[in-house]
């Protein structure tokens, strides 16, 4: 059985040695300033639990800043039995894996219709997820060969979105809601869910996103999935592939 208590490993078991680098807003000009800067770095290292610590590199950057590389021995212990792993309900897949999953499950392209609904003119969210340009270093859904993306843009009326998603035989509808005055995003999501419920089957997967959404509210709003702040295109694509493999949206309700 593996040891439940571990420490960082430098070159000997249990030596606790780590390396960190950081910048402090202190000058590194005169001899006095240099000594003070190194002392400041050692103080921070001590408070971070590095004891003993050694400043191996210090360099002034401009007149007011100094960069440090520090090696030291951390006094902290890691208790592996206390590590909890929160698993998302779906695995993060690469673009190639998403494409393969879609091909396997559908034998055709997955159709995604995206829009900003109501009076919301902020397409920055939906575009970050859909445009090839993407977001946070990840390409948008248009980049995925097995996804067909229809981006309706901003200020789309909900009935128009329902009609268009039926015409496109959408597998998933993505709606971004940035404007949140008087809980417009919550009302928008409810209106969306109600409109698709009224339209009858086949109902596409309904996914909403926006910076002010609470991801745990999906069920109460009647949508399949909510993505909050900081969502990347890869997460959305992975979710679509997962939800699809799990069965069509109808099976899950």
């Amino acid at each position: 059985m593996t040891n439940q208590i571990v420490r960082p490993y430098g070159d000997t078991t249990g030596d606790g040695r780590v390396q960190v680098s950081f910048t402090l807003p202190v000058p590194f000009g005169t001899a006095t300033e240099r000594a003070r800067a190194e002392g400041a770095a050692l103080q921070l290292a001590a408070k971070m639990g590095l004891d003993p610590a050694m400043v191996v590199h210090a360099k002034g950057m401009g007149q007011d800043y100094t960069f440090f590389v520090v090696y030291g021995r951390v006094s902290h212990l890691v208790d592996l039995s206390l590590v909890t792993v929160t698993e998302r309900e779906f695995p993060l897949l690469s673009a190639a894996e998403v494409n393969l999953a879609v091909r396997t499950a559908l034998g055709r392209k997955l159709v995604v219709v995206g829009a900003c609904i109501g009076t919301d003119a902020h397409t920055v969210g939906i575009d970050a997820i859909l445009n090839v340009k993407g977001h946070a270093g990840e390409k948008g859904l248009e980049y995925y060969r097995e996804l067909r993306v229809v981006n309706l843009g901003s200020q789309v009326a909900v009935p128009d979105l329902v009609a268009r998603s039926q015409a496109e035989r959408a597998d998933a509808v993505l709606v971004s809601q940035v404007v949140t005055q008087r809980d417009a995003h919550i009302q928008g999501a409810r209106e969306l869910a109600a409109a698709f419920a009224a339209a009858g089957p086949p109902r596409p997967l309904i996914v909403v996103g926006g910076p002010r959404f609470d991801p745990s509210m999906a069920a109460s709003l009647g949508v399949d999935k909510i993505f909050g702040k900081g969502t990347t295109p890869g997460e959305v694509a992975s979710y679509l592939a997962y939800a699809l493999a799990r069965g069509s949206a109808e099976d899950t309700r």
Binding site: K59, G62, K133
Partner: protein, 520 residues
């Protein structure tokens, strides 16, 4: 220049001829159409600035009002200046404010009224283009008073969203060694069909491009240029739905370089292809007059497609950008064609392949200030390996005599650069430049060797693709997904409703001056 790659001059000539053939129908389209943004740019050049209380610019109000009552097929100028003379408005702003309230009936004047409107418009635009000429002269004056930095120019990015935070960061970057400061725009500004107004302090992963932000940053960098005794250039982005307007503002406020690609907006932002090409031609005519160096965006193709398989699409796009740029009046020295170091480092001989591609581009465009982009796709979060890869990028850059090096950050894709990331990146490039800056003169790939063969192969594939594009038509090729991986049909995407076919008597007093070179 003697080719170090034994490139076949016949193939090089054929590639250029094919690019011209592919591009010519697009130029014809641009000459026979206008767009709402082209017309708004005319008004901006005539000095119309400002916005209503909701932030909608007066140029949008005026162009929309003219479009509604008189149409834009004759251009905005005749109806606008006619209404100004007839209504006794003292300037365009007064006219635009009245037009926004629906108080102005525009018409297409004829006879003496038309002649008077035409004369007034021409005079206003001579003034506006004169201001661009003055900015250009001022740039030269600043360079003479400070100094022109040696190449490669080092290009660094700031992007806080707040222009007042950007300014000290940009000045610090310049002091640390940057020759060029690029202010990244707020995500999605390219999709706005208007240019925001005033100094801005909020943006999404970038700072809005506005006339006031341009002015503030240029003034700050002038101060730093004097302090350093070296002219620090300023870059922004003209791509998107407002390309001509932003080009006009850049010319007026003396930006030095502008991102302006012939196909980037189409492929990566789903902007309508016709709109893009029409806007682009006028935008580049303005850049040409302003002495602005354009930067093209071929590096982006390699972030979506494989950098080895798609190497020839970069060359094809560069040749198209060159053709469109020269047609619009840009000199070789203004063509900052783009490319990138994006080959997977796990591929055997990846550095040799990068050298072959970079040297090929250098030789195809010997006088262009090439802009070379660092690795992004294969920066994995292992910052130590990333630092090494950036050093190889810098080495390839100096060996193949690239003109503008965008400095790679070891934390690419993790967060916006820390102060220390930027400092380390500059230390990296300084070391390489100091240690190997003159290696280029001795870099002569072996005749018949791997590098030479690879370069010739990419050139051959480029000619092959250009032939297919010529047969197919460029708009069809774009619709078929030839560039990047995205299909962009000619009638799809954003902004097509802003495209108008010109009438026979179309009048654009700015284009008249730009195309004839009056006053130069």
């Amino acid at each position: 220049m003697q080719s170090r790659l034994n490139l076949d001059p016949v193939a090089v000539r054929e590639a250029r001829e094919l690019a011209a053939r592919a591009g010519q129908p697009i130029v014809e389209m641009a000459r026979t159409h206008t767009t709402v943004s082209v017309e708004r740019a005319v008004l901006r050049l005539a000095g119309l600035a400002g916005a209503d209380n909701d932030g909608m610019p007066l140029v949008n109000h005026l162009v929309d009002a003219v479009r509604q009552s008189a149409g834009l097929e004759h251009g905005v100028a005749l109806p606008a200046w006619d209404a100004m003379l007839a209504g006794g408005y003292h300037d365009l702003a007064a006219l635009a404010e009245a037009a926004a309230l629906g108080k102005v009936a525009f018409r297409l004047p004829s006879g003496e009224d038309a002649a008077a409107a035409r004369t007034a418009a021409q005079s206003a635009l001579r003034g506006g283009i004169g201001r661009i000429d003055a900015s250009r002269a001022r740039r030269q004056q600043m360079i003479d008073q400070t100094a022109e930095p040696g190449k490669p120019w080092i290009y660094l990015i700031v992007a806080t969203g707040d222009i007042y935070e950007d300014i000290p960061q940009a000045q610090a970057a310049a002091r640390e060694g940057a020759d060029i400061i690029a202010v990244i725009r707020s995500t999605g500004q390219s999709l706005l069909d208007y240019v925001p107004e005033g100094a801005t302090r909020e943006g999404y992963a970038g700072t809005y491009a506005t006339q006031e932000n341009f002015r503030l940053m240029r003034a700050a960098l002038d101060e730093t240029s004097r302090e350093l005794g070296r002219y620090v250039r300023l870059t922004n982005y003209a791509s998107g739905l407002c390309m001509p307007e932003i080009a006009a503002l850049a010319g007026l406020e003396r930006l030095d370089m502008m991102l302006n690609d012939c196909m980037y907006g189409i492929i990566f932002r789903d902007i309508n292809p016709r709109r893009t090409f029409i806007d682009q031609r006028f935008a580049r005519q303005i850049h040409a007059r302003a002495g602005i160096i354009i930067n093209t965006g071929e590096d982006n193709y390699l972030t979506t497609a494989d950098a080895v398989e798609a190497a020839h699409t970069v060359v094809v796009s560069q040749l198209l950008n060159e053709f469109f740029g020269k047609e619009a009046g840009l000199a070789d020295e203004q063509l900052g064609l783009g490319h990138a170091f994006e080959i997977n480092p796990a591929v055997p001989d990846s550095f040799l392949l990068e050298l072959a591609h970079a040297q090929l581009v250098r030789e195809l465009f010997p006088h262009a200030p090439l802009k070379y982009m660092p690795p992004t796709k294969h920066m994995t979060g292992n910052v130590f390996a990333g630092y090494l890869l950036d050093a190889f990028f810098n080495l390839c850059g100096v060996m193949t005599d690239q003109s503008i090096l965008l400095i790679g950050m070891m934390t690419e894709g993790i967060h916006t650069p820390f102060l220390s990331d930027r400092d380390l990146a500059l230390e990296n490039v300084r070391y390489v430049r100091n240690a190997a800056g003159r290696l280029g003169e001795s870099f002569v790939p072996a005749a018949g060797g791997f590098i030479e063969q690879r370069a010739q192969q990419v050139l051959g594939e480029s000619v092959g693709l250009l032939r297919r594009i010529c047969d197919d038509g460029l708009l069809n090729a774009i619709a078929d997904g030839t560039f990047g991986i995205t299909r962009r049909p000619a009638d799809g995407g954003r902004g097509l409703d802003g495209v108008i076919e010109r009438a026979d008597d179309y009048f654009n007093p700015a284009a008249e001056i730009l195309e004839s070179g009056i006053g130069r």
